[in-house]
Symmetry: C2
Subunit: 347 residues, 2 copies
């Protein structure tokens, strides 16, 4: 931490004082929010529709490394990954609750930076911060976000709704967030061995931003609404495309064929993968943290899908007994592998 900046110990404010201080600049914009932070619970007046709820934790040393993840970005990302889950149900996020557990290595100023990121995400996605708590942790930083959204019955997209013959689509591009992480990890190692060397990451901006500042594809949900398109199934790409395809296949009791040619990979990501001697398609399939939307549509909606911005058609849903396969650029078909990211650490 920069020694020239002010450092206020969290104990100076106490738990109540800290949460009050951190949440005071969060205006409420959703008409459905009746009561936000400040009581035993928050109150929502549900609008016409169904309430969609998701919760997720980010843990220091597991999901983020503060050596290269600025706290402001972390706050933004912690919110976004949860809003992405709401979008993945074809619902619109409305409110969030944030719980933070922190050791006293974090100052009030550090928490202000974290909440500044949370505030920016709230502003960008027009969601209200309505609750949460801050508490102590013996070691490290834990952030839990619960996101609440509104969906319309009949329009909510489950993982289980895909039908045989449905078209498999994905938004944006894949693999860049993973490659951004690899760059940051490499720079960290360089920095640790030669602290004086300043990295020039100017031309890696896109990849690093994909890792440090992902976005939830609320814009796509809005396009669906405008185009009157209802995906038959949907999931967000948090663990990697292959893993998410397996989820949809499992829940929908289907197989799938994915065409490598169709999988969208940004040019910078392709170049970077080659620099790292990695196969770009592997980064796209197994990289994760892209927070794009993977969804299926009825073939009759093909024309509508083609008009949607930033959507790629990457395959088709097959009967279950045909398995989950990748058709490569080289013309081969082989089983798709889902490489999960398992990390239960020592401690």
């Amino acid at each position: 931490m920069d020694k020239n900046t002010k450092r206020t110990d969290v104990n100076e404010l106490g738990e109540f004082g800290l949460i009050e201080h951190l949440t005071k600049d969060f205006p409420l914009v959703q008409s459905s929010t009746i009561k936000g932070v400040g009581d035993d619970a928050a109150i929502i007046n549900p609008e016409e529709g169904q309430v969609v709820v998701s919760t997720d934790s980010l843990v220091e040393g597991i999901h983020f490394d503060l050596m290269y993840m600025p706290l402001k970005h972390l706050g933004y990302k912690a919110v976004v990954v949860n809003l992405s889950d709401i979008c993945a149900m074809n619902a619109v996020p409305k409110q969030i609750l944030v719980s933070v557990a922190l050791s006293n290595r974090f100052s009030v100023e550090a928490m202000e930076a974290l909440y500044e990121g949370i505030r920016l995400a709230c502003k960008h996605y027009k969601v209200d911060l309505i609750g949460g708590d801050t508490t102590s942790s013996p070691k490290g930083l834990y952030i839990n976000v619960t996101a609440i959204g509104l969906g319309q019955p009949g329009k909510i997209a489950y993982r289980s709704g895909a039908q045989e013959g449905d078209i498999l689509c994905v938004t944006g591009d894949l693999g860049a967030a993973y490659l951004g992480l690899q760059i940051l990890e490499r720079e960290k190692q360089i920095y640790l061995s030669s602290p004086g060397v300043q990295p020039d990451l100017g031309n890696k901006k896109y990849l690093i931003e994909r890792q440090l500042k992902p976005e939830a594809r609320l814009d796509i949900i809005e396009h669906f609404e405008k185009a009157n398109l209802i995906p038959t199934s949907m999931i967000d790409v948090s663990d990697g495309l292959a893993s998410e395809i397996f989820h949809i296949c499992k829940e929908s009791d289907l197989g799938a064929l994915v065409e490598e040619e169709g999988v969208p990979i940004n040019m910078d990501a392709q170049m970077q993968a080659l620099e790292f001697k990695l196969d770009p398609i592997t980064c796209a399939l197994s990289g994760g943290e892209d927070y794009e939307l993977l969804f299926t549509v009825d073939p009759k909606d093909m024309a509508v899908v083609r008009l949607l911005p930033d959507v790629s058609i990457i395959g088709e849903m097959l009967p279950k007994d045909m398995g989950v396969k990748l058709y490569t650029k080289g013309g081969n078909t082989h089983p798709l592998k889902a490489q999960g990211w398992q990390h239960f650490e020592e401690g």
Copy 2:
């Protein structure tokens, strides 16, 4: 951990497998739950009313010590403290989401015990587990619970609704959970210095149970409903009676007079306090973790309140400039002190 019991490493199941395994025996009983665990988010069909949401974290080494807190009790308590927040709004809890971060020192069997406690709480309070995640932590156990309930507009009790002249009431008895903790802490120290000594805690059962297995006062909320009584303000006693009185006074812009004579303290708690050379009223005022309900009612409802089971009248709301005061058994009046529990630790 008992070396004779089976120990399955969490990595054998992986993150998805673990959460699937742990949540498979949770039947859904609420008609408002449309979709529980298993998709990007859960879906609730809000019944007539307003949605009440609260979130809270329990952190190992801060909120609990696994040396004397069995994991099953911990799971139960983690749920209960959140349901208590919903009750404190005069609302009925309906659903919960549970996020767990754990180091690999915890086995699958340990997590099963935790979720068994969560399951018991769900069953007892008729709430549905509808979501959450398990993730790795570099060290220790973190549990975050989000509770969702249903309240009726006009019946929701905020901290801010108390009026001058309102009667101040509290349910159950106070201070026992704190004294239970002191007993457990003492036994831990004895055990650490002489591992062979088996404590006889038979006659401390009530106090220890108040610490290890608190209950949310949903029964009181149901009595309010039956008696058609709406508290003007309410809060649950998590940080200690004095601290909660200050919250109501601050939010309602009032003062209060509390009569020591009226503060309910269980006989076992009184005896134990004296054994520890503590003043029983101090334990009741500052102990915390009782999860009783502190509320105010209009004086016109006095007769109704007197008929409610397990409710004590402890004071009266005063104009703000009269401050927050305690009228002691000895006939003295002095300012009430709120001793918060601040614990931002090193790390």
